[in-house]
């Protein structure tokens, strides 16, 4: 799909800061002041200590569980559900002592109401993520969190266990490192039970390991392949099927302790030496000595700083923050920064802010569904609507359900994927619903100045000025190209 012909002028620096890099303006943001020092405004956010973290020490987040506790809760709930299922048919086998007509026993037995523990945990984490996005200043760091969370995605569609710990995974393996080192994030992600479970590594067993010989089970290549293809080097960067198989062997034994705790604290990461494929192994022409868990860790550290990884990450970052087909010079500079700083993600964030292309490229990307619904909520402030369910429903309708991408490559970061007929129609429905539920709508013309600033087009101004109601005016503003594009 060709790019829009609109927005071809040099974009307003405040819109670049708030929309391209951030999560959108809030009433009270001072456009003129931001435009005066847009780069400084973004950089200031990077200096705030622990800005990316969601701390469970904060009373507002008191309900959040760490991944071990979340997984244990899911394991317990799962055991209870299983027991209940087994009780049911057993109960209906009891010979009837009453005169009830045949066939009623089954329908009369009520299904026990199962508290959906995992859904509660998921909703609490969703609420914390939305709150963080709504409360952020520019929101550049939250955008980085979203970027990395999508790069290293897990999906709650995998099962209840991932539903319970997807939020904890992001808090534990992504947030602490978004302004840290790439290698540290990579190691935290690949050690995390959510990822090991999502990509099946917890079941992968070295064929020549003690467990492999005893149980006759073997390798599962899924995690190894996606680490190479999606997390680090990128597809077509020169690894072969033999590398995937060998790396899968190195990763055997990386697993999660089960409910009975034979290997360790249930739900926590453990290295199970019994399942680990023994011996040295080869990856990308380098031999890794036998060394238990350290073998795959050494390999991960090597591929984290590989030139193909630098280019892969640089391309994705530039695509996310600049354009679907990013300027090659911008990709080159980001890749150089990655290589020179050994994957310092704060340095990459600063390099992005300093990219001339980020400030000159037209705002031609469409906000992703998450960025769009957050921008809507930041714009309208507190409003009626049952949260977080309403926002979760919006995301689902727009095709980007939270922590539920269609595959391990995450959600698309290209405009054509979101600028679909169905997507736009759904945005219209959401804009209308949000406008009707907004509790205190001021004059939509003033809101336009607050949210889009002086660069709003004459047509947008006119459409809003001519709206037949405040609600309609606000919905038009939330649908305006200046609000959709970034």
């Amino acid at each position: 799909m060709p790019l829009s012909v609109s927005n071809t002028a040099q974009p307003d620096p405040a819109l670049v800061a708030l929309n391209r890099f951030g999560l959108g303006a809030r009433p009270g943001d001072e456009f003129g002041k931001i435009a005066g020092d847009a780069r400084g405004y973004l950089k200031a956010e990077l200096t705030q200590p622990d800005i990316a973290l969601i701390s469970t020490d904060d009373p507002a987040n008191a309900g959040l569980l760490d991944s071990t506790a979340a997984i244990q809760a899911s394991m317990a709930a799962n055991a209870e559900r299983k027991a209940a299922r087994e009780r049911l048919p057993a109960a209906s086998m009891v010979p009837a002592v009453t005169d009830a007509p045949p066939g009623t026993a089954e329908t009369a037995a009520p299904r026990p109401a199962m508290p959906p523990v995992e859904a509660d945990i998921y909703r609490a984490d969703a609420q914390a993520r939305f709150n963080k996005a709504l409360g952020a200043g520019a929101g550049f760091v939250e955008r980085l969190v979203g970027f990395w969370s999508n790069h290293f995605c897990v999906s709650v569609a995998k099962g209840q266990l991932v539903r319970a710990c997807a939020g904890a995974f992001e808090r534990e393996a992504i947030r602490p490192f978004v302004l840290g080192r790439f290698a540290d994030m990579l190691l935290a992600v690949e050690h995390h039970p959510a990822m090991l479970f999502y990509l099946d590594n917890q079941q992968s067993i070295g064929p020549d390991s003690r467990a492999g010989k005893r149980r006759g089970r073997g390798l599962n290549e899924n995690l190894a392949r996606e680490i190479l293809e999606l997390h680090t080097l990128g597809v077509g960067s020169g690894y072969a099927q033999a590398d995937v198989t060998s790396f899968a062997g190195m990763l055997t034994g990386w697993t999660m302790a089960g409910r009975k705790g034979r290997l360790g604290e249930p739900g926590s990461f453990v290295f199970n030496a019994n399942a680990h494929q023994p011996g040295e192994a080869m990856l990308l022409g380098k031999t890794y000595a036998a060394g238990g868990m350290g073998q795959a860790e050494a390999a991960l550290n090597d591929i984290a700083s590989h030139a193909a990884t630098a280019r892969h990450i640089a391309t994705k970052l530039a695509r996310h923050f600049i354009a679907d087909d990013p300027p090659p010079a911008a990709v080159d500079r980001l890749a150089e920064a990655f290589a020179k700083t050994d994957g310092d993600l704060r340095a990459l964030a600063l390099a992005l802010i300093d990219m001339p292309e980020a400030w000159s490229t037209p705002l031609s990307k469409l906000r992703s569904p998450f960025d769009y619904v957050v921008a809507v909520r930041r714009a309208i402030g507190p409003s009626a609507g049952n949260e977080p369910q309403r926002t979760l429903r919006w995301l689902r309708a727009l095709g980007e359900p939270l922590w539920q991408p269609p595959g391990p490559n995450g959600f698309s970061d290209r405009t054509e994927n979101w600028a679909s007929a169905e997507g736009l129609k759904t945005r219209l429905d959401i804009a209308w619903q949000a406008a009707r539920q907004a509790s205190d709508i001021g004059n939509p013309n003033d809101m336009l100045a607050t949210l889009v600033g002086a660069s709003a087009s004459a047509e947008t101004r006119e459409a809003i000025a001519r709206a037949e109601s405040k609600e309609q005016g606000l919905a038009l503003l939330l649908m305006a190209p200046e609000f959709q594009r970034r």
């Binding site: 799909m1 060709p2 790019l3 829009s4 012909v5 609109s6 927005n7 569609a157 079941q203 992968s204 067993i205 064929p207 492999g212 089970r217 390798l219 599962n220 290549e221 899924n222 392949r225 293809e229 597809v235 077509g236 099927q241 469409l366 429903r393 309708a397 727009l398 095709g399 359900p401 269609p406 595959g407 490559n409 054509e416 994927n417 979101w418 600028a419 679909s420 007929a421 169905e422 997507g423 736009l424 129609k425 759904t426 219209l428 429905d429 959401i430 209308w432 087009s457 047509e459 947008t460 459409a463 709206a467 037949e468 309609q472 919905a475 038009l476 649908m479 305006a480 959709q484 594009r485």
Partner: protein
């Protein structure tokens, strides 16, 4: 249906054309029902995640099959016996509709098929499958859209445009030819007044968004008419479960059955990446296959008399390993099946140059070796349904594929 009644507005049209994504459908006169009785339709279902062809249509007559596919191999005996198609092949028991259509001569299988892609990345594999290009890359258009764009301008099929089902448009049908998008959903809808105002603003400021929104509104109105109201179509989830697949097909069939509706549609169903506990005759894969089978049933029912002219083809990016892996699933492989159904299909046949499953016969010692090219099947359908020439198919629709000859006689 008021979809095609809009009065042409030259200035608006000019704006749209500068955007390059001209949506001409709304400006064309309503065309009458086809004068002749033949009014072909083509539905492409993309199964994303790599379908295990050996668990879908099992070569139960191959002496090496049961050993390789282990606990998940299909079998003609036992509680969930596979449904025999011929003395050698049997279909998964989760697909009784497909088996019935096969017996009635309205469904066929092409086995041991693959695209030209020989690596094992889902995302590159899907790119190649959907773009129709010889290799992966930054593809922005799909072969089905280019086929549509290659039809003569006045052609009935070209005029009707394509139909994309789901919240985002599958790559296979993206491109210059107009495409209508639709997905079942249930949010309160704004009145026409707001929609018209937003459209007007987009027409002045953002033609790409204008075209997309116009299509979304058109599709919504069309699907909402008749018995397909918001309630019956409320989705129970994404397109990776049986109910979602069935509902998508139900909606698509309604849109396509209309005399002025699209003749060509694309759907994408997710969830086929069965690395762990894949299941055979029952279980995870069988549930998904049941959803696909339900989609066939909905198309048969919803298309009514148009079923006679319809060809449905279900394709996937590649197959899975012939031998089950260490976790009772299968890893990424190569050869797999193409499923064909519809009244237009010359069915009752499994088309296969069977490569065998002995170690030396497997591709790279692990996968079902491909002996048919998926593109040959797709070319054959496009040639027989819409009269596209081998030259156009080998050049524009599937670039650089002249050597892959269309598979003939797939259509009645």
């Amino acid at each position: 249906m008021s979809l095609l009644c809009e009065t042409p507005n030259p200035s608006r049209r000019a704006v749209l054309m500068t955007g390059g994504a001209l949506f001409a459908w709304a400006y064309l006169p309503r065309f009458a029902r086809a004068a002749d009785s033949h009014d072909p339709r083509l539905i492409v279902i993309v199964l994303r995640g790599a379908l295990d062809g050996l668990s879908t249509v099992g070569p139960v007559g191959d002496p090496d099959y049961a050993g390789l596919h282990g606990d998940i191999a299909l079998s003609l005996s036992g509680a969930n016996a596979a449904l025999p198609l011929d003395p050698f092949f049997a279909v998964n028991p989760a697909m009784p509709v497909f088996a019935r259509l096969f017996r009635a001569g309205q469904a066929a299988v092409v086995h041991a098929a693959a695209t030209g892609y020989r690596d094992r990345s889902h995302f590159d594999g899907q790119d190649v499958l959907e773009s129709g290009l010889p290799g992966p890359g930054n593809a922005t258009t799909g072969w089905l859209n280019r086929a549509l764009a290659s039809l003569p301008a006045g052609d009935r099929v070209a005029k009707a445009g394509g139909l994309a089902i789901g919240p985002s448009t599958p790559l296979v049908i993206r491109g210059a030819a107009p495409v209508l998008g639709w997905a079942p959903q249930a949010l309160p809808t704004p009145g026409d007044a707001l929609a018209e105002r937003v459209l007007d603003l987009y027409n002045h400021r953002d033609p790409v968004l204008a075209a997309a929104l116009q299509k979304g509104l058109d599709a919504d109105r069309m699907a909402m008419s008749g018995e397909l109201d918001g309630k019956t179509m409320k989705p129970k989830g994404g397109l990776d479960n049986a109910a979602g697949m069935r509902q998508s097909a139900q909606g698509a069939a309604k849109l396509m059955a209309a005399d002025d509706g699209p003749r060509i549609a694309a759907l994408a169903f997710d969830g086929w990446d069965t690395h762990v506990n894949e299941g055979g005759a029952t279980g995870r894969l069988a549930n998904l296959l049941g959803g696909l089978d339900g989609a066939f049933a909905e198309f048969e029912k919803g298309l009514g008399e148009r079923w006679q002219d319809t060809a449905i083809v279900a394709v996937t990016e590649f197959g899975r390993t012939a031998r089950i892996n260490g976790t009772v699933g299968t890893d990424h492989g190569t050869g797999t099946v193409v499923l064909l159904a519809g009244g237009a299909i010359k069915g009752g046949r499994v088309v296969a140059d069977w490569p065998g499953l002995k170690p030396a016969q497997l591709y790279e010692g692990r996968d079902l070796a491909p002996t048919s090219d998926v593109r040959a099947v797709l070319k054959g359908l496009l040639a027989d349904q819409f009269g596209l020439s081998a030259a156009v198919l080998g050049d524009k629709v599937f670039p650089e594929s002249a050597a892959v000859k269309p598979m003939r006689d797939l259509v009645v």
